[in-house]
Assembly symmetry: C2
């Protein structure tokens, strides 16, 4: 399937390194982005620019979209100059954004009306995972469609799990995000507790990280909190967007999520403090303010 | 130091396998337990019974206590027939229970008045870790005393971290427990979310466990929740005891722990449902009741 022509819509923090990995793997690549400047590097590396999603879709077999939020995906596929205007029988659309599952389903339905297939495939692993081609990919769609996308996923990630029909990738990603949120809150509370009672927080991380308290968040975000390194691995604003989708999906399905709700409230305090564009580890600063530990 | 005579007070779920490992490592071992029946197996394996803590302390160089809660430790050391009645210059007392740090400090002060040394060394790893000799040990005390205890710790655990002066082991263990609590809540919320929205929860665990959502709790408690296996790795009643100590230590130090507080409230609901003696993974049943997913 290396002879497929691919189009990527969205060349931001995630999309740019993903596009680069596909170029390096030998795919012919067309790109579109709201801001052309963010695609320039890829154009010098061999990608071809298109001004609109419909113009891009006309030239390719597979469209990959990776943008920020539900309205962006709706507009790319269904808006004026959207992908659906030029979609043809047999094409495959893969949305790798993290968006509301009901938007995924409605966009997929429109794509299918054009005779094309749709797979939702949000990812976990952030910028570093996108660059290294080690993303975890959570795919929703018909088995045949996910299978067809597999060679592309193998370039972008280290694991792909087929989670169920269209929308299941998004729902699984929401599970991922609420786990990340609660693990993060645990690390923040452990760090402020350790500091305030006079422990060396670095020694605490060393003592507890290999046992039953261990988590990716503890290993990766804990040391950054202690080093006061708040550069984003994943931005608070985006985590909040994902938790907003998780909580609204939960609400409409009658699922109380008391812990996730609390995490979101505390992240709102971080946003109120102007820290929305910092990494999620900056949540520790909200806890520090609550404890007057600034 | 293999020629030290050791006394173990408390031969319950944790103490019994720990004592067995010390016997097998070649230590001469004296034992005491509130209920003698729970020590019988160890007696047939070579341990020597003593009716009271003071009678045990008379015969040994090092006393190890591993019991349930603060009042038990106070009574073992300071009560009638307590260890302090027969403590001698140069002896070493190691309390491996998880108890309130202020009780640790007051017991340690009394032990020192007798000319003996005190190390607090709570553990993480549960029954399986105690059996396998792979506990994580969080030690508080003077460096020389922790060093002296090290050969014993090496039999019982796979890692020992010296966390600071007396009480620091307990404080570090509290950090461990609040991390466990929040990681646990994350797994519960992910599982009920996955079930209610129609995902296969096993597939979700597979898709998210290797990435940024990963944790010991997800790997070890998630599959047990799905298998409806609520046998205790670690009992809800004991987790609640530990969180009670964490929250009360936090309160007296002016540390708000909103997440840990929520976890404790939800575990209270599990206890109210008669599930206190089940494993912490049974918290998922409280979340299922909230979501009417029973």
């Amino acid at each position: 399937m290396i002879d497929s022509a691919l189009g990527i819509i969205g060349t931001g923090i995630m999309g740019e390194p993903m596009a680069r990995n596909l170029l390096r793997a030998g795919y012919a690549l067309w790109v579109h982005n709201r801001t052309r400047a963010k695609a320039e590097a890829l154009l010098t590396e061999g990608a071809t620019w298109r001004d609109y999603p419909d113009a891009l879709a006309r030239d390719v077999d597979v469209v990959i979209s990776i943008v920020s939020d539900s309205p962006d995906v709706e507009s790319i596929y269904l808006g004026p100059h959207g992908v659906c205007e030029t979609l043809r029988d047999g094409m495959l659309c893969i949305d790798m954004s993290t968006i509301a599952p009901e938007v995924t389903r409605s966009v997929a339905a429109e794509v299918r009306k054009c005779g094309a297939s749709f797979v939702d495939a949000p990812v976990s692993g952030g910028k570093t995972g996108a660059e290294a081609g080690t993303l975890s990919i959570m795919a929703g769609g018909d088995s045949g469609d996910v299978e067809r996308a597999k060679p592309i996923f193998d370039v972008l990630g280290k694991s792909t799990v087929h989670c169920g029909p269209v929308g299941s990738g998004q729902l699984t990603k929401l599970c991922n995000q609420l786990l990340c949120g609660l693990n993060l809150l645990g690390v923040c509370e452990a760090v402020i507790f350790a500091k305030r009672v006079g422990l060396n927080p670095g020694t605490v991380l060393e003592a507890v990280s290999k046992g039953a308290a261990g988590s990716w968040a503890l290993d990766n975000l804990g040391p950054r909190m202690l080093a006061r390194d708040f550069a984003p691995m994943f931005m608070i604003d985006l985590q909040q967007k994902d938790l907003r989708i998780a909580l609204s999906t939960a609400l409409s399905n009658g699922i109380p999520l008391p812990g996730t709700s609390l995490v979101s409230q505390l992240l709102t305090a971080s946003q109120a403090a102007g820290e929305g564009r910092e990494g999620t580890q900056a949540l520790v600063k909200t806890l520090e303010r609550l404890a007057r530990l600034e």
